[in-house]
Amino acid sequence: MSVSALSRARPVIRRGQASRFPPTVVASFAVLALVLLWSLVPTLFTGQDPARGVPADKFLGPSTAHWFGTDHLGRDLFARVVHGTASSVTSALVAVGIGVLVGGLIGLIAGFVGGWVDAVLARLVDVLLAIPSFLLAVVVVSSLGFETINAAIATGVSAVGVFARVMRSEVLKTRRAVFVEASYLQGGSRWHILVRHVLPNASRSVLMLAVLQFGLSILIIAGLAFLGYGDPPPASDWGLLISIGKDYPLAQWLVYAPALVTIATVLSVNRISRWLRKTD
């Protein structure tokens, strides 16, 4: 037994570290807070109607009246971005939720039950992993139909494999942990150990992955929207906005404004995920 391994694991009792938020993390939280508010109370941020515009005012560049300019039907792009937030955010959440729940459950059962159950589930997960996730998403969404929610489901399905694998390896790791054996010696049943020890410990990495996956899902769903798998008009998810905007190269802001909002959001999510990983 190497003593050094232990001394390295010595508890670094963090002094005052909780209060030390790097400025970029603060900024990321601010961005996410704004995005959250946009999705909950869009009307607080814009008085304009995202679906109805003044056709005569089409293709106006960004100005004080229209922060992000207007689109091909004279609608205020900022209003469309703000009102599209809820759909973008919830669809990413749905995708992550499917990944976490389905993938997590598969990984949990595979890791904890083991044996042939594990072998069967492992092949299933291998299949999900082997099909490139974007291809999988495209195939699934095409069989479900053109809707943002379907794109979200497809994205979630394509993430199931990753979650299952992480969950399984975490469960296996935790199951072999000394403290699990200790609990067994304390009279803990399998169920008790699964629910009280294995799950909470294993879910940490899964949650961190979930944060990362949230950002990734926004991008994948936007990618699907780019290919045309999004809600019908007048929906204004960010991906749809970029996808519509790209057809009007003379009005570049139609692409750049929603793209920047998307990038800022995903960047913030990634920053926070990295920060969580570090502080853990």
Partner: protein, 551 residues
């Protein structure tokens, strides 16, 4: 061994002009966190100096400051570090590099992580040989050095990857690499604490011999006062990055002037074999009764890489109620496997085990469960044996909840009681393990095993991950609980000095077999087997020469 060293013990600290290394007012901080404050000491040419202190006291930090290996960006050193008349801290990186390796060598603590795992030992050794500026023949030079540090098959070592060698061999390699360029100073940071007891002594002897033969000065870092006293002529005692005391070994050792040094001295088991005699030697109760634990002819083998490996081979011993039985032996000798069999965590291939008259082997899960109420285990490593997501309260109370003992209130009371008995306050109840020190964690683990009021507790190296002073605290708790509640302990350790302090009877294990057993005093004072003798010999003897004055 090495009698010259002992003769030089009383030499006074070197005069300044003869100093090879001079540290003056050194302070080191990591970020805003200052961990070493105003440290000064000097090491004369050819001399040896030991830095001692508990974990986290800043010993390694000082070593790194001297070697300028502090982590870039965060670590910052102020003050004066003078090597051979040159101010080390103000040298440019390029100028200092010519000193590193060539003039100042470094022997790290854990040999298993100190060589690049994906390169062969030889290829890394050639890097050291290249420092000698002698053209060609690096390979021969390396092989020669390997032979010099006592490696039996230098060629095999040369072609091996680090993971293919044992810890002792790796440490020899590292020492070889360090002495190869003939440095003037070797900094050794706990060079043996990751190794087996029997190997520790051999490595320290090797260092001493090389030092003498090659006239190298030694800056030795250790947390073991006994080792320091044996191997160094000057001692510097550190606590929280501040020097508590320094001076010639004899004076610091025999008449420590600071409170801390005195306590340090008292806590080292090797220096105080009889410290707990009063607690241990109570009227031996229960003679004539059936022994609490009976292990008879137990054998267990594992299949490793297709081959059978007999981890425990025909092991038998008995433990009387209210006494402590120790299992000692080097790493891999089968100690842990034996106690896992005892707890019913593994099924033996052969043999019987009874605890309090009940057969452990061949029982169902439910039956085992009832036995376990009387039989608890404390693990070696408190950093892995406590669920990091649980609070202390839940951790300690888990078995009460599982066995549905009493009402909610009674359970809470018993948790508090158990924590109290291991010397922990209620203020820790809602903390998670991450917010506890190692000693506190091991006490929590102990409280967890006590809360069901078992009569047998099995302890697997419960203090090997802890500092001596923390260890002393735990040992004291263990012994007073035994005296109070009449508990029976099975105590696994490789630290013979510790075993001598607290056990009544002992079994010495070697390659899965018990080679010798009996009362502690008998086995230790008059070892019959050479293996036992080697184990006993490896207890640092620095104690023997000077401790007389203390006790």
């Amino acid at each position: 061994m090495a009698p010259q060293d002992r003769l030089t013990l009383d030499r006074v600290t070197a005069p300044a002009d003869d100093a090879l290394l001079r540290v003056e007012g050194l302070s080191v901080s990591y970020g805003d966190n200052q961990v070493v404050t105003d440290v000064s000491f000097g090491l004369r040419r050819g001399g040896s100096l030991a830095l001692i202190g508990e974990s986290g006291s800043g010993k390694s930090t000082i070593a790194r400051a001297v070697l300028r290996l502090l982590p870039e960006g965060t670590g910052r050193a102020r003050g004066l570090v003078e090597f051979d008349g040159q101010d080390v801290l103000s040298l440019s990186e390029r100028r200092f590099r010519s000193l590193r390796g060539r003039r100042i060598g470094f022997v790290p603590q854990d040999p298993s992580t100190s060589l690049n795992p994906v390169r062969t030992v030889g290829s890394q050794a050639r890097e050291a040989a290249a420092l000698l500026d002698e053209p060609g023949g690096h390979r021969e030079l390396v092989l020669e050095t390997f032979a010099q540090v006592g490696l039996d098959d230098p060629r095999r070592v040369y072609d091996s990857y680090p993971h293919q060698l044992s810890g002792g061999m790796l440490q020899r390699v590292l020492i070889g690499l360090t002495v190869l360029p003939r440095p003037a100073l070797i900094v050794a940071d706990e060079p043996t604490s990751a190794l087996d007891v029997t190997i520790q002594k051999r490595i320290l002897d090797l260092l001493s011999d090389l030092r003498r033969d090659l006239d190298i000065s030694l800056l030795l870092i250790t947390h073991d006062l006994a080792i320091a006293a044996e191997r160094a002529d000057t001692l510097v005692v550190l606590k929280d990055g501040v020097v508590q005391e320094s001076g010639g070994t004899a004076s610091v050792f025999s008449s420590p002037s600071s409170e801390y040094a005195r306590k340090l001295h008292a806590d080292v088991p090797a220096l105080n074999p009889d410290r707990y005699r009063h607690l241990r030697e109570r009227p031996a109760g229960g003679t004539g009764e059936r022994p609490k634990i009976e292990v008879g002819g137990v054998t267990k083998s594992f299949t490793v890489d297709g081959r059978a490996l007999v981890a425990v081979d025909d092991v038998s011993f008995t433990v009387e109620a209210g006494t402590t039985h120790a299992l000692v032996g080097e790493s891999g000798s089968g100690k842990t496997t034996t106690i896992r069999l005892l707890l019913g965590l593994e099924e033996p291939d052969r043999g019987t085990i009874t605890v309090a008259g009940e057969e452990v082997t061949g029982r169902s899960h439910a039956e085992l469960r009832s036995i376990r109420r009387h039989l608890q285990l404390v693990y070696q490593n408190p950093f892995t044996s406590l669920d990091p997501t649980w609070t202390v309260k839940r951790l300690v109370g888990e078995s009460l909840d599982r066995f549905r003992v009493g009402t909610r209130r009674e359970r809470a009371d018993r948790v508090r009681e158990a924590l109290d008995s291991v010397g922990l306050g209620e203020n820790l109840l809602s903390r998670k393990p991450g917010a506890l020190s190692g000693g506190q964690r091991q006490r929590v683990a102990l409280a967890r095993s006590l809360v069901l009021r078992p009569d047998v507790i099995v302890l697997d190296e419960p203090t090997s991950a802890l500092d001596v002073s923390v260890q002393a605290g735990i040992v004291e708790v263990l012994l007073s609980l035994q005296a109070e509640l009449g508990l029976t302990y099975v105590f696994v350790s490789h630290d013979l000095a510790l075993v001598r302090q607290l056990a009544h009877t002992v079994s010495v294990m070697h390659r899965g077999r018990i080679v010798e057993s009996g009362a502690v005093a008998t086995v230790f004072d008059d070892p019959r087997r050479p293996y036992t003798r080697a184990l006993v010999d490896s207890i640092p003897v620095g104690a023997g020469t000077v401790s007389g004055g203390v006790s």
